[in-house]
Symmetry: C2
Subunit: 152 residues, 2 copies
DNA sequence: TCCCAATGCTTCGAATCCGAAGCACCAATG
DNA sequence: CATTGGTGCTTCGGATTCGAAGCATTGGGA
């Protein structure tokens, strides 16, 4: 289900503003941040994404003039990303269609009680996943004797 | 939430059997198919994935000896993919850990009623999305540097 | 003051992904 | 039987992805 929805959302973002899903998330996060700025690490915390991928997408945003990047004032190691006026403009262009897609595909078949239940249940799952320590090792159960030798 | 879960699932599949998420879905689909075979198109219907990506992953499975590919008997255009004994073995190796991840991350904070609600609500959403015609067009674009649409 | 592990981010290489174009085959038409 | 349009899959080129390695800065002692 989430794959289907994700796919439709990405299509709309691409058509309406040439944005990838991650780029949209980054712009939206920046738009909500005080001053329209955030460090790379803070962005990464809000988006399930690799650091290197974040660097790549931030470069693309900068290249398109939707955001700027500069070394952090407080910590010379850090990079501060800031949304530009043009970035906000694109975000505003794209947002109504984004909401429309969610309305059409996700919320149409649901009533208020359904939505509340979803929010409750999925919210609990999310909190649980965030609180669980990163998997150190997968459960090592075996069920077939013919497992091929494998170098992980 | 789904991104977090997806990420953990992919990690387990990779560690336990060197499988990508798609490869796992393909093997699982084949394993449930009569004769362990299916046409590419039938596989694509069950997996939200591009055709070319499906070809790529099927080639990888063939290269690892987990599946075979042969032109369809009925329709020379079609390709029939079949799971091998080794493919089933890997699937059996990976499956218990897969279920364990879902149990730990997804089902732990939920009770039976939660699960039933989720299945009902998300099932309806899925059916709705599958029944909706593919988006014909996104809401009209706006050019930059103008007032954002007040429409949502 | 001078180290040194830890931190924040980027670069690098290789793998994976997608859409568009291409190839081969099927089915319907005349 | 030749033609035409449609279908099924692959190939191609370019974009995106990730983890590992690299670079520079920081903070906490010795």
């Amino acid at each position: 289900m989430s794959s289907l929805l994700r796919h439709s959302v990405e299509q709309q973002l691409q058509e309406a503003g040439g944005l990838s899903y991650v780029q949209f998330q980054l712009l939206a996060t920046l738009g909500d941040s005080p001053g329209g700025s955030a460090r790379m690490t803070d962005l990464a915390d809000g988006v399930v994404y690799s650091r290197s991928g974040l660097t790549y997408q931030a470069q693309l945003l900068e290249k398109r003039g939707l955001a700027t990047r500069a070394p952090s004032v407080e910590d010379e190691r850090g990079t501060t990303v800031t949304i530009t006026a043009e970035g906000r403009s694109v975000l505003d262009d794209v947002f109504p269609g984004h909401v429309a897609v969610l309305g059409d595909l996700l919320f149409t078949p649901l009533d208020g009680s359904d939505v509340a239940q979803l929010a409750d249940v999925l919210g609990r799952v999310r909190d649980h996943m965030r609180s669980v320590p990163p998997r150190s090792a997968a459960p090592r159960r075996r069920s077939r004797a013919t497992a091929p030798p494998r170098d992980a």
